[in-house]
């Protein structure tokens, strides 16, 4: 086998007394796609920061293409390593070609901006990837999947031989994931090596040749992908066996719906939607990005206004002007984007938990608020030393629990969750599912909006499929399998 293009040996790192990485080693050969799997807090982001020269290691060495890297990101970039973070770090106000050429030309030390050369480089790079994009389009106008392609092209234009991708498929639909897989296969053949940082088992198996599992700062398993299956991978990542079976339910479902929707329509978003949500029942609404699932759920929470149709709550027609009305009717909504819509990041955990239940009359007792927050922290097992630190100090799973805790304070009759476990590790995901089922057992109607079929199957009594703004199928979760649902959400079931 050829010499590795990347090798890390004996990497150690501690922040104060906390040991984050211990004797971690990792190699990558040209044309290899390796997955670095691990839960949040396993040390994988620290490892990436060391790899890219952003954070110095306490011990150990990093060699990229025969060059030893110190604590300087520019060294790593010069040594042909590119990291593509989840937000892609593109310039939204520049064009596709300017973004692609940026690292190579402007950041590469060229003094004059030459638009023609930029365009040529961009065109050649996209041709290498067999991708067709408008070179003059502003990047902010591109869909997420295309932004990712621009980020990959930027790395390639800079002659990257190792591309590290952080959670690359989080925001992609199934067909976009398939396209990404093709591009990666083509680049592999050229000898480009990839390191995928991920905790999504599906993508690990779809993309990767080899797997390195990190847990508590140590490599606990390593080998070719064929040596793993979903159960073993989950087990290695969490350190305990996780069954991917459906969760036990057995909540009595009420006969009368809490909320009913008839013939609801909103121009350009959805049309002809009928929906019944019953106390004690978990309903999943599955659909791809752009299927109208988010717009529909926002309409049930008063954040968007339908043009036609009726929403009734316990038989009474309602019309919500904003979220306050929906909340007064007993509805809670966990938004899709936790960081921008759900949380007040730089504010204390206590305020994040109690914000939806502040009493407007008179003075607040800070100690009573904190006590309530502490109780909620304990109940939902949120891992934090207290309720005073900002919510930004928590991991993704714990942040999501803060949002859940906020709504559970209100004892809602209906809880709508849009992508409740996006960016949450497997262990936390399971626990969040348990929380939702407990809610459902206590008589709350639960609606989960998701594109994670596995999640829909594990959680729900009924699964509704949404395609292009219409509900195209309704299934009893016991009587349908994942493959069928995959076909349905891509519209394959009806051509």
């Amino acid at each position: 086998m050829a010499d590795p293009v990347l090798s890390m040996t004996g990497i150690r790192k501690a922040y104060g007394p906390v040991r984050v990485l211990e004797e971690v080693g990792l190699t990558l050969h040209p044309g290899e796609v390796r997955c670095l799997a691990g839960e949040n807090g396993s040390g994988k982001s620290t490892l990436i920061k060391i790899l890219s020269g952003v954070v110095p290691a306490d011990a150990g060495s990093v060699t990229i293409a025969g060059q030893t890297i110190g604590a300087d990101a520019r060294q790593a970039i010069a040594a042909a390593l590119s990291v593509i973070y989840q937000d892609f770090s593109l310039f939204p106000n520049l064009t596709v070609s300017e973004n692609i050429a940026f690292l190579k030309t402007t950041a590469g030390g060229e003094r004059w901006h030459r638009a023609r050369a930029d365009r040529r480089l961009a065109r050649e790079t996209l041709a290498r990837m067999r991708v067709d994009l408008d070179l003059d389009m502003l990047v902010e106008l591109l869909p997420v999947a295309s932004k990712q392609l621009v980020a990959i092209a930027r790395a390639l234009a800079n002659e990257a031989r190792v591309i590290v991708m952080d959670e690359p498929t989080t925001a992609l639909t199934r067909s976009e994931v398939a396209r990404l897989a093709e591009i990666i296969a083509a680049l592999k053949a050229e000898g480009v090596a990839f390191l995928f940082v991920s905790h999504k088992t599906e993508e690990v198996f779809a993309f990767c040749d080899t797997i390195t599992v990190l847990r508590d700062g140590q490599v606990v398993a390593e080998g070719p992908t064929s040596a793993f299956d979903a159960a073993r991978l989950g087990c290695e990542m969490t350190g305990r066996a996780i069954d991917t079976q459906r969760l036990a339910r057995a909540a009595p479902v009420a006969a009368e719906p809490f909320l009913s929707v008839r013939d609801l329509a909103r121009k350009g978003d959805y049309a002809g939607v009928d929906l019944d949500l019953r106390p004690g029942e978990v309903v999943s609404l599955v659909g791809l990005l752009g299927s109208g699932r988010t717009e529909l759920s926002l309409s049930l929470f008063g954040m968007l206004h339908p043009d036609e149709g009726t929403i009734t709550i316990e038989g009474r027609p309602v019309r919500f002007t904003d979220a306050r009305d929906a909340m007064a009717a007993g509805i809670a909504y966990v938004p899709e984007d936790r960081l921008t819509e759900g949380l007040f990041l730089d504010q204390p955990i206590a305020d994040n938990i109690t914000v939806a239940t502040l009493s407007s009359r008179g003075f607040l007792s800070r100690s009573a608020l904190k006590k309530r927050a502490r109780d909620a922290v304990q109940r939902l097992r949120i891992k934090t030393p207290g309720v005073e630190p900002t919510v930004a100090t928590l991991s993704g799973g714990n942040q999501q629990r803060v949002v859940l805790a906020r709504w559970m304070e209100r004892s809602p009759r209906l809880m709508i969750l849009n992508g409740p476990t996006v960016g949450v590790d497997i262990g936390s995901k399971r626990e969040i599912h348990e929380i939702l089922l407990a809610l459902s057992r206590a008589g709350t109607a639960v609606m989960v909006v998701t594109d994670d079929i596995g999640e829909a199957m594990a959680l729900s009594d009924r699964v509704l499929v949404m395609v292009k703004g219409r509900i195209t199928g309704a299934f009893d979760a016991d009587a349908v399998d994942e493959d069928r649902l995959y076909t349905e959400i891509t519209g394959g079931g009806r051509g």
């Binding site: 770090s89 909340m327 730089d346 502040l358």
Partner: protein, 326 residues
């Protein structure tokens, strides 16, 4: 993983230490500094711009700003002066009318921001001109003088001969605003709204009512500042305190109030006001020219902000900052 470190408390302590250090240094360097007369005189100087700084505080915490505070104060003082001069049968209404006017000016600011969705900086820049313009038209330009003696008297009066009345008003206003910001739902909401207005909508925060309330409070405190100015100067001028606006915003920044919203305390404002007053008086005592004041204020502000960034981000390097974000 690693978020911005919350350095607010440490910063406030540092600011307090700085104030004490300046106080101590001046006491040693200028023998007349630590005299009764000087301290009392300082105590009657800062309340007016201190009150204006307090007025801006809630708007900045909520992610906005109020540039019209000085104009509102002047307009309130003009209205109060006109009523006071009009004779004893109207004089009683001077204070309530001025405060009511402040409230209405603030509500108008709030309406422009909440209903027309104008950016606060533009809305209040507009009303700054509007309120100032009304004042100029009403007075015709020159200052209004000839107030009854009793009104001007309290501005220069001290309780027990030691505590100037304007200082007492500032202290009470600071206390009241502090209570509202820390211990009411509106105060908490203003801070959270400033931190993330989108998330605030997702928890059903009463956005419009909240903004109206915040700017009404700002208008009310501005009018209070106008009444203090009227008493101290004993005349009402539609374009008094031209340099106050920038000073007041500088005080807020120096006080650790986030220009992006979501953070800021009354305690910080009080310390920042006192620190600037100490420096200003100190410069007089050390016989610097008055022109040097801006130079010192500006340098202090830049040094403080730079030090804060360095401590918070743990360095200046762009890539380290990226790392903290990732």
């Amino acid at each position: 993983m690693s978020a911005r470190r919350d350095t607010t408390n440490g910063y406030i302590l540092g600011l307090g230490a700085l104030a004490i250090a300046i106080f101590a240094a001046l006491s040693l360097a200028a023998p007349n500094f630590l005299t009764f007369a000087n301290l009392t005189s300082m105590g009657s100087q800062f309340p007016e711009f201190g009150l204006l700084a307090l007025a801006v505080l809630p708007t900045m915490i909520s992610g906005g700003i109020d540039l019209s505070v000085v104009a509102v104060a002047n307009l309130a003082s003009v209205v109060a002066a006109l009523l006071l001069r009009a004779g004893p049968e109207y004089a009683w209404a001077a204070v309530p009318a001025a405060l009511l006017l402040g409230l209405v000016c603030g509500l108008l600011n709030g309406c422009l921001i909440a209903y027309l969705r104008l950016p606060p900086i533009l809305a209040t820049l507009g009303t700054l001109q509007l309120y100032g313009g009304i004042g100029i038209v009403v007075t015709g330009g020159p200052a209004i003088t000839g107030m009854p003696e009793w009104y001007g008297a309290w501005g220069n009066w001290s309780i027990g001969g030691a505590v100037p009345v304007p200082l007492v008003i500032f202290a009470l206003a600071a206390l009241a605003l502090g209570l509202v910001l820390r211990f009411t739902a509106s105060g908490t909401r203003a801070r959270l709204y400033g931190a993330n207005p989108l998330a605030a909508r997702f928890v059903g925060m009463p956005e419009k009512a909240l903004i109206l309330r915040i700017y009404a409070i700002a208008g009310l405190i501005s009018a209070l500042a106008g009444l203090v100015i009227l008493a101290r100067v004993n005349s009402a001028n539609a374009d008094y305190g031209g340099s106050y606006l920038l000073l007041v915003i500088l005080i807020n920044i120096l006080a650790g109030v986030s220009p992006f919203g979501g953070a800021g305390t009354v305690g910080g404002i009080v310390l920042a006001v006192v620190t600037l007053q100490l420096i200003s008086s100190g410069l007089n005592f050390l016989a610097f020219t008055a022109f040097a004041r801006d130079l010192f204020f500006g340098s202090l502000l830049i040094i403080v902000m730079a030090a804060r960034v360095l401590v918070e981000k743990g360095g200046l390097g762009f890539f380290r900052w990226k790392a903290a974000k990732a």
